[in-house]
Symmetry: C2
Subunit: 234 residues, 2 copies
DNA sequence: CACCTAAAGACCTATATAGGACTTATATTG
DNA sequence: CAATATAAGTCCTATATAGGTCTTTAGGTG
């Protein structure tokens, strides 16, 4: 056997999602229907669906059905980060401003992760954490696929979570994340944005997110100034 | 049905591991034997074992058997961290020195996570990353259970990974980790240890690890000085 | 002795079947 | 009309069964 049936079925379902045939939030046929349509047994369908649910592609709801994971139905504790109060309990509110959407060339640190592309789209964002301090973030996406972003007005993104937008409009949910970080002086261009003196040390945080089929999708660099508010990664 | 059979069986297996009846690395009875012993069907046993394998408690090996996860058989990419070269490829070698093993009182920041205990055991460690910089770490464990550590000679830990030691000798593997971090001036007592001037900013990294049954087991604080070597969390 | 073969034992995949549990919509009833 | 009961549709659990694949060991063969 080259590849188990349940994985073949799982891959076919992912293909349909990628193709836009199944949109985020859409309901899949029932287990029994899928078994009949695909000519496999019920148990095998269940195995496929459970497999995809574990990797965050689908959401299963007892008595209701199986759905494509969307922003409203985060499958896993979708890889996110947030800032806490000192007590470690309350989550601080964050507002984001999209500064610019830029067309950038094929060279850059993102190419190592995202792969070669004719150009890239770079989103510059400034996050405000509870009015206490600011965080600067650069998010890069591969060119052709996300080209439509270039035409958009940055103001339209006020209060919108980028990840949710990419999930909704580009069928590009964040399913897994790799991360690296260093501590050191923040780049000169970043210091004024996060309102700290030049040469202030801060956190350089690099996030590399993958979507369906483990395809590299988002390369993100986040710069945090010093603060006593704990950053929690979940 | 109050609790599914496969979960009851899984919990029973975890209990046996916790009780020391099944040691890390030990082989479990075969699926068929377990099915007969526990008077359940083969499929249910498989579901139990797969469930425990996914949460990192067991390791399944095709054609060989099912084993209790141990330091040599890391089930998942066990939550670890490491330092990389700038290229992000090569892993820098780290050597650790155990500075002290201390008996500390019931109060402290660890109590919030580990819970109340008559006392705690605190391990002070200094890591040397490729001879380039040092990292200071404090690891706290709940009193009674880990009391035996107090009698040990810190020198005996040279070159030993603490997590592996706890897995082997205390049946206490790290199965999940929560983490928080802040950037700011390193505490005065830490600066000389990591060989930086006072008031140097660095990373305060708090790790809270759980073992079997999601029981809080390890509270760790790590202090990193500035460096251009990326810290990778996996 | 070295190499190949066969068998045993383990996990892995797949099917067919049965009933339970949860959710929602519909129909019944007071 | 409101509360309840029913039914349909869905996922969830469990069993029994069959054959496959992988690893190791034991024999056989040159």
């Amino acid at each position: 056997m080259t590849e188990p049936i349940y994985l073949r079925l799982a891959n076919r379902i992912v293909q349909r999602i990628e193709a836009g045939e199944l949109r985020p939030g859409a309901q899949l046929p029932s287990e029994a229907k899928l078994a009949e349509l695909e000519s496999v047994s019920l148990g095998t369908v269940q195995r496929s669906l459970n497999h995809l649910a574990e990797s965050g592609v689908l959401v299963r709801r007892h008595g209701r059905g199986t759905f494509v994971a969307s922003a409203e139905t985060p499958a896993q504790d979708l890889k996110h980060f947030r800032f806490l109060d000192q007590d470690g309990e309350t989550i601080l509110p964050v507002t984001s401003t999209l500064l610019a959407i830029e067309h950038v060339g094929p060279a850059g640190p993102w190419a190592a992760f995202l792969g070669a592309a004719p150009f890239f789209v770079l989103l510059r964002r400034l996050l405000d954490v509870n009015g206490e301090f600011k965080v600067y973030s650069e998010l890069t996406l591969a060119g052709p696929r996300f080209e439509a972003l270039l035409a958009l007005d940055p103001k339209a993104f006020d209060g919108v979570l980028i990840r949710d937008y990419l999930t909704q409009h580009f069928n590009c949910p964040t399913l897994s994340v790799e991360q690296r970080m260093t501590v050191g002086p923040l780049p000169p261009r970043v210091c004024p944005l996060v309102e700290v003196p030049r040469e202030t040390s801060g956190l350089h945080w690099e996030l590399m997110a993958r979507s369906y089929r483990d395809q590299p999708a988002i390369y993100q660099r986040v710069y945090l100034p010093p603060s006593d508010r704990p950053l929690q990664i979940i």
